[in-house]
């Protein structure tokens, strides 16, 4: 993977906290060869699991950068290294002008981090935690109260901020978490799966908050395993799989890399509820892979996903090829490539696998 900085993305707005001010396209985060492995001990046998096997990427100021990958791909480990919670085994990272390995204490002053788990006591209140959070950054008491007040207004927490946190809904609690993470106006905020487990309205609301932060000049680095989220929310994404980065770019660039159309052939007969025989799926996949106009073919349960130059001319040929072998597809549909297809093409799997 190359990691050259990509110029010309988003001219940066003013940074949220004072620091070396960037020219346009100035990277805020540069990661090179970052590695981490865990030792696990099982009956005296020590095995080493490589969670992150040398990742490179660059994040520009004031962009929403999505780190996309299935569970266990190394997303959270990478994030925890960048947030100074885990010490990397190797590689380097510059965060807001500070070397992560040499000066993690300075990095902490410039970043915010919101983990997947809430990180608050159910018996505390949102306001108390906001004030305390600001004070952990060394802000004096009165100023901390002011910062909490500003965060309550910005994230619209007024209705519940003085209640015990255990009474909050999932979306309310998530908004408080993000408000806590940015109370000190960091230059970059790391969000680990910010919308996991949220209902659709809360999710939309979280997207709104994230965009608002970006528009104020903050850089957002988030992990997600929702493809639609990466597509709709992120300015740029990086796909990580098995500890390595397999693709990086804007969602539309990545989709454009997959030329042509996608044809999805559903082999389940429309009149029967049951799935088709595995042998039939295998045979159909074999026939279609051999067709000259099919660039590639992936099997997902009882559907075949075909990448072709033009769906309009491919569909009649697909029909003919299948019926010549006596296979009768239940449905055929065509669509433009999605991030899901990008993911499949880069990793050979769907993200849900």
């Amino acid at each position: 993977m190359t990691s050259g900085s990509r110029p010309g993305l988003q001219p940066s707005l003013s940074a949220a906290a004072p620091g070396p001010l960037p020219a346009s396209g100035n990277p805020i985060l540069e990661v090179r060869g970052l590695r981490k492995s865990y030792k696990t001990r099982h009956r005296r046998k020590v095995t080493s699991v490589e969670a992150v096997r040398g990742v490179d990427f660059v994040v520009q100021r004031a962009e929403i950068f999505g780190f996309l990958g299935p569970n266990g791909a190394g997303k959270s480990t990478t994030l925890r290294m960048l947030a100074t919670l885990l010490r990397p085994d190797g590689g380097e990272a510059m965060i807001a002008g500070v070397d992560l390995l040499r000066d993690p204490a300075q990095v902490r002053r410039r970043i915010g981090f919101v983990a997947q788990e809430s990180g608050t006591y159910g018996e505390s209140t949102g306001r108390r935690d906001l004030v305390n959070q600001a004070r952990m950054y060394g802000v004096p008491k009165t100023a901390a109260k002011g910062l909490a007040e500003a965060a309550i207004a910005a994230f619209q927490l007024e209705d519940f901020v003085d209640r015990q946190i255990k009474t909050y809904s999932g979306g309310q609690s998530r908004r408080l978490d993000v408000a806590l993470g940015v109370i000190h106006s960091p230059q970059i905020i790391f969000l680990d799966e910010p919308t996991a487990g949220l209902d659709p309205p809360s999710r939309a609301r979280m997207w709104q908050e994230v965009r608002k932060l970006r528009d104020q000049g903050m850089t957002i680095f988030l992990t997600t395993h929702y493809l639609d989220e990466a597509d709709a929310l992120c300015d740029r994404i990086s796909i990580i799989d098995a500890g390595l980065i397999v693709a990086e770019g804007t969602p539309s660039d990545l989709k454009r890399e997959i030329s042509g159309d996608v044809v999805v052939v559903d082999l389940a007969a429309p009149d029967t509820a049951g799935a088709p025989e595995p042998a039939i799926i295998l045979e159909a996949a074999k026939i279609l892979t051999e067709q000259p106009y099919v660039e590639s073919c992936e099997t997902i349960e009882h559907t075949l996903r075909l990448y072709v130059d033009s769906a309009a001319t491919a569909i009649p040929q697909i029909m003919r090829a299948l019926s010549a072998k006596g296979i009768d597809p239940g449905a055929i549909e065509t669509r433009r490539p999605s991030l899901d297809d990008v993911f499949l093409a880069k990793t050979g799997r769907t993200i849900g696998d």
């Binding site: 100074t84 919670l85 902490r108 788990e117 809430s118 990180g119 608050t120 108390r128 952990m136």
Partner: protein, 251 residues
């Protein structure tokens, strides 16, 4: 300076959280008061104490020792819960001093147990205990050192064995001998000599001994200065140990 400020911040936060549920604080008083009111009469007849005042002077230090050992060692569970809820992680990405995250919490326990000690003593005084304020203050200092020691020990165990079930068994099997060998039920002076010699290696026993000696008015005894010295030294070692474990284990 920063360490002191950060520790104070965490201490304040934990204390406010604690007193925001006064019912929970009140519940922590039930057990010591029950023991104080029901166990002391037993003890009085066993040791043939001449008065209830004398019996309380023997039993209150024992009760302090039990409070000091048990409340502290189970603090490890609360730390594990805070880790699992991500509270510790959220604090660790801020510039706050790592050690203060432990020390502030230790301070909260010292305050809680000292409060229990005051309540227990006030009740004991109502039933006949006679103690002058200076001696009582000395006993409170020893109790606080006991709590620092036991909470740090509880944190060590929780960080070494971060699984709740295994930790529960481990704590129980450690806290029982530690508290019995500190004379938390029957004074060690009634124990066979070999048990007393074993107890010499238990820092909590020194704490109980110091408290009992002062409450019985034997001001000149060597244990009066030996007890706080030994307690302070051992407490310091466990605090340093748990701080190191905390910085290492919670990577």
């Amino acid at each position: 300076m920063k360490l002191a400020r950060d520790t104070w911040l965490i201490f304040q936060y934990e204390v406010v959280l604690l007193v925001s549920s006064p019912v929970n604080v009140a519940i922590t008083l039930i057990q010591p008061i029950t023991y104080l009111l029901i166990f002391t009469p037993f003890l009085k007849s066993v040791v043939h104490a001449p008065s209830y005042g004398a019996a309380y002077a023997i039993y209150v230090p024992s009760l302090f020792a039990a409070m000091g050992v048990f409340s502290g060692m189970f603090a490890g569970f609360t730390l594990l819960a805070a880790i699992h809820q991500g509270v510790i992680t959220r604090c660790r990405v801020t510039p706050i001093s790592r050690v203060s995250l432990l020390l502030g919490r230790v301070g909260m326990y010292v305050l809680l147990v000292a409060f229990q000690g005051v309540v227990v003593t006030v009740i004991a005084v109502a039933f006949g205990l006679r103690v002058n304020p200076g001696d009582f203050l000395y006993a409170l200092v020893l109790l606080s050192l006991m709590v620092v020691l036991s909470v740090s020990l509880g944190y060590d165990l929780a960080l070494l064995v971060p699984r709740e079930n295994a930790l529960g068994n481990l704590i129980n099997s450690l806290a029982q001998p530690l508290s019995l060998l500190a004379g938390c039920l029957i004074p060690l002076s009634l124990a066979p000599l070999w048990v007393q010699r074993v107890a010499d290696w238990n820092p909590f026993a020194w704490g109980t001994n110091g408290m009992r000696t002062i409450l019985q008015g034997r001001i000149g005894a060597a244990v009066i200065w030996e007890a706080p010295l030994i307690m302070a030294l051992v407490a310091l070692v466990t605090v340093v140990w748990s701080s190191r474990l905390f910085s290492r284990e919670i990577a």
